[in-house]
Symmetry: C2
């Protein structure tokens, strides 16, 4: 660690990624003597837990995103840079950017994860995932375009395919999407179409394990499934997707093979570490787990590189409990704060005990008035769970940026039953309704726009 | 008109375009005995007067757009179709769609206008205009990307070019954009950058005539110019753009030729009739004016085709005053209502006197606390004009869809000095930061995304 202690002041901390981990690290370092550079490909922090509401048209991207510069405006020791990190040179304490280089004394990597199609990347264009704003707008475009096309479709089979939505993956995101789709089809759009009856919409939620919301206790998984079925969602557990072809999903439950015609297929099944993980492994010799997350030390550093930290979804922290810590916001937040404090301690030649995650519990929303809450000592579901979910999300959302009125607006459209942001935009990306031709291939984040 | 009177009930009115004209026609016909079909390329009505706020990051698209289906939800006689009209067959009372045909008894065309580059369509990619949501998001992307690039630029000349914004056209849209850019550069972003001083930003507003806001009385044009200059905008009247090249604008004032290096060039100079105008002229023999608007009869019909109406920006109504009526929302609204009433009268074998526009006055916003209002009998500017502008826009915006809280939110971010929607999205469209390649060419609406 001598390299850290001997560096001339101000000590330069570079944070890659402005998600929950990176942003909390930056905020915690904001009142310290170090120099901070936060670099992100985007100019905004995205409040991921509500991204599914953009995908389903109840919120606009601007409602859940805050410009990083305005969040960190008052941290005069902090510079925000919009740019992309392409490689790492740990021996020279240097980052390689798409447009230059950046030296650091301490590096915090918080670049998160992207979709994982388990070796079937060609599915990405057929079944988009939900990580970026563009992902959400593409899902929104597909969802509402399907209803529009169904309204004009006269062939009953094609119409049913247009009104069939398959959500792959029964984790929190899949449950949220399926529940929101049910709200859209059976409530919000009900009175708006003349040729079709949107209550004929079929929504399938597919999960490979024996229950949805696997991280939750079995009783809450059962509650969640009951809640979704009550909303009209068909939940299929122990069901694997073996193929996705244009508008046809092939399922395998036990020995049974089944094909379902669906216009809209949404991917919520898996994630893999972002590219920075590979760069770290290649340049530092760090181990990656099978989904490309970096195996970190108890203090969140990369082995043998005490001045390189990996936090948040990209980190595999396996020093607490029998499982690695889950990829959720609270873990990233606590890790960001821990690392920031450790850096400050080190500058005083002190240190901190290993990182320890304090689990305040977990929540998952199912739909209007329904959620499940696991506070470990207390488990509950239904309306109170939903209110708890709303409270927590309002609380965190307004913490960064004053989005209080956004939340009031959201509550308003909730009570007035409107989905005010149900816009079909960027049709240009579909290459259909205008003269823009697009050839897509996989981006780093698998942000695929067809 | 016998064809109209003798058609078997229900009389089918087809409205093309869900802007102010088409939507008011549909709303007025909603409580009548006719069958109404509203067809639009998009699934939402866009509140155009506030589109510049999306382009400058203070509102999100969802804040100023309402799904047409939800606006017309309770009009059970009305079907909304998302589709594109490609041609017209007046002899068979038939519309040709991109995906089929549609018969009408009465046709209302309200497809509006698109950008006009005066024969320099290649400028469209260099200087995007502001008509669609995608246009606004592209402007937003360019504006905020320019500041991000400037923060990283070390070459002083390049940096100054990145911090130079040229708005072409001194009409209401150009004035609004220039004023909003001044707010962004000199107020909102002021504390957020570390390398650049955003107050070094140059904002030029170019107008070919001898004053900005030509439709307004000279004293208000002078007030508007004073207001913009007070905000920091350089206003250049009697100045023509003779060429736009990559990041260089060539100006001609009198005999003087001048070149200005600017990364961001925004087009607010001219509009031309949308393609439906050509189809109407070709198939009905109607005359188009020099910008492609349809010359209509005093009752807004196309000559010799009493069952085809053209309303709103696409109509050239020259039967009142020495100028054709301006392309503003109130004209379109009053024309939509008039046509709807005339259709109902005709079904009772009655008619209406010619259309007469009632001008309640006009407003243009300059910036925070500043606007100009011309009520004909009363002209004023400054804070009261701005409050009048806000009131009118809030009033109209909440009329369609309950966007009251949107406006509260907007007021909030106004008072808290935030521009909450300053997101740089759809970078994919730039073809730079990911693997999507785009080849652009002119679309109907000149929606060009580079």
């Amino acid at each position: 660690m001598s390299d850290i202690l001997n560096t001339q002041s101000p000590h330069h901390v570079v944070i890659v990624g402005g998600g929950f981990g990176g942003l909390y690290a930056a905020k915690t370092l904001g009142r310290s003597s170090v120099k901070v550079t936060l670099i992100d490909k985007r100019n905004f922090h995205l409040f991921q837990p509500l991204l599914y509401q953009v995908a389903t048209g109840s919120l606009s991207p601007g409602d859940i995103a805050s410009p990083l510069r305005s969040v960190l405006r008052d941290n005069k020791n902090t510079q925000v840079l919009m740019g992309e990190v392409v490689d790492l040179n740990p021996n020279e304490n240097k980052l390689v950017l798409n447009n230059g280089e950046l030296n650091y004394d301490t590096l915090i990597v918080a670049t998160g994860v992207s979709h994982h199609y388990f070796g079937n990347d060609q599915w990405a264009t057929l079944a988009p995932g939900l990580k970026t704003v563009e992902d959400a707008l593409e899902m929104r475009r597909r969802i509402f375009s399907a209803f529009e096309a169904a309204e004009k479709e006269t062939d009953p089979e094609k119409r049913q395919a247009l009104l069939t939505f398959v959500v792959v993956g029964g984790g929190p995101t899949g449950v949220e999407l399926a529940g929101a789709l049910a709200e859209i089809a059976y409530r919000i759009l009900k009175e708006e179409f003349r040729s079709i009856d949107t209550s004929e919409t079929q929504i399938l939620l597919l999960e490979g394990m024996d229950r949805i919301l696997p991280p939750f206790p079995p009783e809450l998984s059962a509650e969640a499934q009951k809640g979704l079925e009550h909303l009209g969602v068909t939940v299929r557990t122990k069901t694997l997707v073996t193929n996705i072809d244009n508008q046809v999903v092939t399922l395998k439950s036990g020995e049974e093979i089944e094909q379902i015609s669906a216009q809209t297929i949404l991917w919520a099944a898996g994630v893999k570490g972002s590219k920075m993980g590979e760069a770290i492994a290649r340049t530092t010799g760090a181990q990656l787990d099978r989904v490309g997350r970096v195996m970190v030390e108890p203090n969140l550093t990369v082995p043998n590189h005490p001045n390189i930290f990996v936090i948040g979804d990209l980190a595999n922290f396996s020093h607490q409990g029998d499982q690695p810590l889950p990829g959720v916001a609270p873990v990233a937040q606590q890790q960001g704060i821990y690392v920031a404090k450790l850096i400050q301690k080190r500058l005083k030649a002190q240190t901190l005990p290993p990182f320890h995650y304090i689990d305040y519990g977990s929540l998952a929303v199912i739909g209007r008035n329904q959620a499940v809450v696991n506070l470990n000592y207390l488990k509950f579901s239904g309306l109170f769970a939903w209110l708890a979910w709303v409270f927590v999300h309002v609380f965190f959302l307004i913490e960064f940026d004053n989005k209080l009125l956004v939340m009031i607006q959201w509550a308003w459209s909730y009570f007035t039953n409107q989905g005010g942001a149900r816009l079909i935009t960027n049709e240009g990306l579909s290459g259909k309704n205008n003269n823009i031709e697009i050839s897509t291939s996989m981006g780093d984040k698998n942000t695929v726009q067809v």
